[in-house]
């Protein structure tokens, strides 16, 4: 169907998008790579020359590095665990016959549309505030001492806020996947006397495998980069300084661009490892 003429027309039509994305990817990437091998302090002397791998070594040997890796892992792991487990349960629940399914769906999805700064601030002040927050009222009602959430249980609090934002995404995708499950298969198993838990474990869960993989991979990409939630709550204190936040502080707060860029390169490598797996999952679908 495609003639020589339409092929070159097609190339021409693709060109703007390809060229723009190529520039968007390459220009900053090359600059980051270049800065990462330099001692570069914009406010204290500017470009102070090449330093080889100094920044890379200093970034990983600084006392802030390992705690930031651990905080990142805790947040990404915690949120993934909560959203996938509750997402599967919620998807199964929402797939049952009930009254007002459409409305419940809307209620469950809503948090995804709340901008990150709003959800972080609402949780921080109106729920987690140790004096006037709703949780403090609740704790006092039961005779307990209110918790200072964002300082005493800072990581858990961030995990809770971010999980609330991402649970709708996981639920919605898993629900879509469940709805494509062959009903007859489940009914046949039921007739053969398979109890609900076995039906779930042997039919529903394996069917969801692919959707769960996609949820985990996409969320990981986004979760590695969460910023606003930390920016408006703890500003990276109380052990919530993730790798992303550490790099942000090095680059914009302490204006140590060389060091921050080396951190940026680490973050890019990390994201790419996850991305490779995601691309495989997505790429398979392209052939189908």
């Amino acid at each position: 169907m495609a003639t020589q003429h339409s092929r070159s027309a097609a190339r021409l039509m693709m060109a703007p998008a390809v060229i723009l994305l190529l520039g968007w990817m390459l220009v900053p990437l090359i600059m980051t790579l270049m800065f990462s091998f330099k001692k570069y302090l914009p406010l204290r002397g500017g470009d102070l020359g090449w330093v080889g791998f100094d920044n890379y070594i200093r970034f990983v040997t600084s006392s802030a590095f390992w705690p930031s890796v651990l905080a990142t892992l805790a947040i990404v792991g915690g949120v993934l665990f909560i959203t996938v487990v509750f997402g599967v349960l919620l998807a199964v629940l929402l797939n049952q016959p009930m009254w007002g399914q459409g409305i419940v769906r809307i209620l469950v999805i809503a948090p995804f549309f709340v901008m990150p700064t709003v959800s972080a601030l609402v949780w921080k002040n109106m729920f987690m505030d140790p004096v006037n927050g709703l949780f403090a009222h609740l704790w006092k009602f039961f005779g307990a001492t209110p918790i200072e959430w964002l300082s005493q249980a800072s990581l858990q609090s961030i995990i809770m806020i971010v999980s609330w934002q991402w649970l709708p995404f996981a639920t919605l995708i898993l629900l879509t996947a469940i709805q494509s499950l062959d009903r007859e298969q489940l009914e046949a198993a039921e007739m053969d006397g398979a109890p609900p838990l076995k039906r779930f474990g042997y039919i529903t869960l394996p069917h969801l495998g692919r959707a769960i993989t996609v949820v985990v991979l996409i969320q990981t990409i986004f979760l590695l980069g969460i910023f606003a939630e930390i920016f408006v709550t703890t500003q990276g204190s109380f052990g919530t300084r993730t790798l992303t936040y550490l790099i942000y502080q090095r680059v914009l707060e302490s204006q140590n661009v060389g060091l921050g860029s080396a951190g940026g390169v680490y973050a890019i490598i990390l994201a790419n490892i996850v991305a490779i797996f995601l691309m495989r999952a997505v790429g398979k679908n392209l052939d189908a």
Binding site: V18, L29, M115, V274
Partner: protein
Amino acid sequence: MARAVTQNRKIINTVAAWTVGLLIFFPILWTILTSFKTEATAIADPPVFLAFDWTLENYSVVLERSNYMRFLWNSVIIAGGSTILGIIIAVPAAWSMAFVPGKRTKDILLWMLSTKMLPAVGVLYPIYLIFIKMGLLDSRTGLVIVLMLMNLPIIVWMLYTYFREIPGEILEAARMDGAGLKEEILYVLTPMAIPGIASTLLLNFILAWNEAFWTLNLTAAKAAPLTAFIASYSSPEGLFYAKLSAASTMAIAPILILGWFSQKQLVSGLTFGAVK
């Protein structure tokens, strides 16, 4: 007997699902309710749910005090501009990939997706520097460009998935009837592509509206959209719950409403067609 069992199960399902649904929605509901309270009732212990004197005062205070309209306008321009610009660039690309696929189409698509995986913080300083050099820092133009580039892969992917579902036979039929490339695009493809373009528009508008890395780091007073406006409530104004709630409600209401329309597209759009 069997009928009674299913009826009972339906009741249990309904109660369970509504409980969970309301629990998840509660923070939003609480914010909306609080926005109509006075500051004193907002922090009352025990908390008041519905039985308070409803007031619109917080809204008028927020509107007066903080130049809310300017932030709103910035959000509209940045989210709308970046989405429309992105679609203008993406439609031809997605069209050609869907209808004239070459050997490398799949690679190009996957490569585009991979640019989306680049962590923003890794390129923060270069972008910051380029923005300063070009005078784009704290300008709406700058943010329109950055958010457009950020969402361009998703836009291309979504459009590609929609376009691919348009049967090629229709095009061939049109060509047989003597339609040129221009007629083909204008009278055959465009009408069929409009629903897909509309949902792409919607989802990307939402994503751009809520974007909170570049909008926080590349704006100050002039071009700040609602995300940055709310962040400015971080402290100490954030302790005025009623006003914080009013500002928050105004920032999320338009997107909540738009979002509910886009539930379906959300899945295929955000999973790049991997889950449909």
